[in-house]
Subunit: 125 residues, 2 copies
DNA sequence: AGTAGTAGTACTTTTTTAGATACTTAGAAT
DNA sequence: ATTCTAAGTATCTAAAAAAGTACTACTACT
């Protein structure tokens, strides 16, 4: 009767970190959004729109709201005209920076060995 | 006339590592599948099915084929009856292990602080 | 008076992703 | 003669994600 406990629903149903991570940063845009906010210091909705080539307003709104809900982002609303909102990483969001960095380093080396960071081209002028 | 070169389509359209990474490991199951194969040494289709609670055969097949296509997995077919196929990480796939490890460590600490690895419960009996 | 700027909302349509179901192979066990 | 096994394929449907379009608010500028 020595059962493989992995088949036990109670074990499987538990919070499985990789599964949760996938649900939190999955999707077509999230790690890209986090990456822009964390490393490029993008804070405004409009700037994110321009940088995330191909994203629509409604999708960006939804993604930002989810990242806010999951605790990664803080959304500071200024009561100004025209409207102003600034996005920034929470402390929790900042804890994720090393993961983003690891991903980026790996991607540069293994996915895009001939990639040149366009940000450097901007700042050097 | 000093333009922000980031608005230049040529720069944006280039291979952006994070974007590529997202497309490669996005989806509902991929990092979970890689994680099982990398750390739990799961090699067989059926075992993956049992561990990935809720996945269907066709979805698992598709995910595995994509991971194979993207270079992460090697698929060894044995001409036996009943059929036998073994999945394993390619060299490229192995290069991704540190990334998985970083993700896992972060997830355990920040997403699931009360998580206990069920694999340990299996092996200790 | 008309247009631009920012950060959206609301609603619909399209695309992508995943799930459901039935079927296959070929031998071994019941 | 069935049933079981592993690892699928093929086809269809459902659900989720993303995109498209139209519209808003308030002020400043032309």
């Amino acid at each position: 009767m020595s059962q493989n406990k992995f088949t036990d629903k109670n074990v499987i149903a538990r919070c499985v970190p990789m599964s949760k991570l996938q649900s939190v940063i999955g999707g077509k845009w999230k790690i890209l959004i986090l990456w822009y906010i964390a490393f490029y210091k993008v804070q405004r909705f409009g700037e994110l729109m321009r940088r995330l080539d191909g994203i629509t307003q409604s999708t960006l709104t939804k993604q930002l709201r989810e990242l806010e809900y999951d605790g990664f982002l803080h959304r500071e609303i200024y009561k100004e005209i025209p409207p102003k909102v600034e996005y920034s990483l929470t402390e929790f969001g900042q804890s994720f920076i090393p993961v983003l960095q690891t991903m980026m380093t790996w991607s540069e080396k293994y996915l895009c060995p001939d990639y040149v960071n366009p940000y450097q081209e901007i700042t050097k002028e």
